[in-house]
Symmetry: C2
Subunit: 363 residues, 2 copies
């Protein structure tokens, strides 16, 4: 408070005509709006935009403020990308893949089905040229974007009946994301697109047979265990879903370098923070959904293989017709090939041993 009053005083001095243009330029008052793609009830997702806003405001002594609005308050989720591109809002916190219908290339900054896990995506974003490649595309749309959150591997969703073989997907009315739906169609699924708030009723009435959302913490709020108790894993179409902080490029470019840098470092901090948040709350939530009646089921190896084959078909089709998609895909796939060699050496054997001890009741 004191600090803002002081800055107010300094601005008054500047307005009085004294020769201190420097201060105004170094820490100008900037007020932006950020539309979140999420309702504030999804506190892990919506909270990331709020944390980004807090980091930026705190770092600038309140001179650079970003007011965060929940989905639909100022812009519906489906329009957030266009709103930032046109500059009607300065910023959005959203997932690029919501806009894959505009161009399938927008699927890949969020997640590649059977692609890199969260750590792998970050290695690719920050050191494997991923951020630059993604922004080469975003820039053509008038957007600058930084990774700002990840859900980690999601769940495969809630099913009214058990799914034992790939044939069980035939004719299944499955509420799921757009790009994943395109893949699942090859497996015989009839993709559905109810808003989250309508999933419970649709499952209860049998309008749909299954629905996927995020993971136990977010899913648990929908209470689906009562109407579709078979809770499958893993959600191979979202082995890691990266969120992005998106900024109108012209407005971003006009910011002082210090503010640009703060947006970048704050986004990177938030990127870690959301994953930490999810890993903490999901740890409790997985027990809660089981207590509420969820019956955990692993997709069988045959189902995963069928999903993998269907994914590769779709990727090949899109690569053949879209050079931007093909370029991003190749970059991710090239890194994936080597990344999973290294993961087998240190990380996974370490975790496997601890999992074994957990199962034996030794930790």
């Amino acid at each position: 408070m004191k600090r803002r009053q002081f800055f107010g005083a300094a601005t008054a001095v500047a307005a009085s005509g004294l020769a201190i243009p420097a201060i105004a330029q170094a820490a100008p008052k900037v007020s932006w709006r950020m539309t979140s793609a999420f309702p504030n009830s999804l506190d892990t997702l919506f909270g990331a935009a709020k944390l980004l806003s807090k980091y930026v405001s705190d770092a600038t002594d309140g001179n650079f403020t970003i007011d965060v609005f929940a989905a639909g308050e100022i812009v519906p989720t489906a329009q957030a990308y266009d709103a930032v591109a046109s500059g009607s809002v300065e910023a959005a916190h959203t997932a690029a893949y919501y806009y894959w219908g505009k161009d399938p290339t927008l699927q890949l900054p969020t997640t590649l089905p059977f692609g890199l896990d969260g750590r792998g995506m970050n290695a690719w974003f920050y050191y494997g040229g991923g951020n630059d490649l993604c922004n080469a595309f975003f820039n053509t749309q008038g957007i600058v974007a930084f990774p700002a959150g990840n859900t980690g591997a999601q769940m495969g969703g809630w099913f009214r009946k058990e799914i034992n073989t790939p044939a069980d997907f035939q004719g299944l009315k499955f509420r799921m994301g757009g790009f994943a739906g395109k893949i699942m169609q090859k497996m015989g699924v009839i993709p559905q697109s109810q808003p989250a708030a309508q999933i419970y009723e649709a499952l209860e009435k049998g309008t749909i047979d299954a629905a996927e959302f995020v993971g136990p913490y977010d899913d648990g709020k929908l209470g689906l265990a009562k109407v579709a108790p078979y809770y499958y894993y893993p959600g191979w179409w979202e082995g890691a879903a990266a969120l992005h902080a998106m900024f109108n490029k012209a407005k971003y470019d006009a910011l002082p370098p210090a503010y640009q840098s703060i947006l970048q470092s704050a986004s990177q901090a938030v990127n870690l923070d959301m994953q930490a948040h999810y890993d903490f709350v999901n740890t409790t939530a997985i027990k809660s959904v089981v207590a509420a009646g969820a019956q955990l089921r692993a997709f069988s190896p045959e189902i995963l293989k069928a999903g993998f084959d269907a994914t590769n078909q779709v990727l090949a089709e899109l690569s053949a017709s879209n050079a931007n998609f093909a370029k991003l895909l190749k970059s991710i796939q090239d890194f994936r090939k080597d990344y999973y060699v290294w993961m087998q050496v240190a990380e996974l054997p370490y975790n496997s041993f601890i999992v074994q001890e957990q199962r034996a009741g030794a930790i």
Copy 2:
């Protein structure tokens, strides 16, 4: 450059006696020194301190500078903690466990053998009360610290001969970290403590039988494949090693809130960045060390179990005699128990399937 000149002009105005104390207080010139625990040849580790410094300087238009010094330039690694505590340097980038000899509690902010992986540590730090618990201890020593980097699961080290059973550790002269050495002593190891630069010669001459360092990227620079070709994994005593940015508490407390906030968010950004850096470079390095002659070997289940038992003995002994150690340990262990349940549901099955496809040559 322009911006600094402007700020220089503003400072001149302030010095001339005009009534603008506000600016000086909101964005004062602060010049700190940070001693890194690492030589600049270890660019993933040393680079994290440099990145932190860059984020802070860029965010403040060069008003808050942190000059980073390599290990030994101004303070030897072993004295970095005391130097920050006393305020002879304002900051250090180091691993708390280097100072476990002062108090074993300092092992736990870095890593618990058979403890949480990197993601789990972050969930514990930021949402499981870990940072607060660690700082409750650091504060008593005059230090404020934030996680600022992680190596991920490390390798188990280079061995001149194969290690097939726990009995093969009897009398083994093994160069390794202090706390891990204390555990390994229970397995019959005779811990050694050569500086990194002397490892090659000690292995070549047979003065030591084995040596562990970090992972393939850092280890590869030492060229150990020629003198101790059996390269074991995983390094269960460092399943994730967290680095910390440490600050003298009195000097941190005297900073403007904006600068404090910038140190926190920049540290969190760096925390993610180092892991991303390691995951990228290790992916290439694991192939390079194998090409240079390293023969990858997994520690057998019996060896891991013997290590786990030895670890639990040491932890029980220390918990019985040190309340701070016991409190931190319990917090980590309580979270570990639940975290690895959740990891089994989504993350590990997802990665396991991709690993299987990698082995089959399908990715």
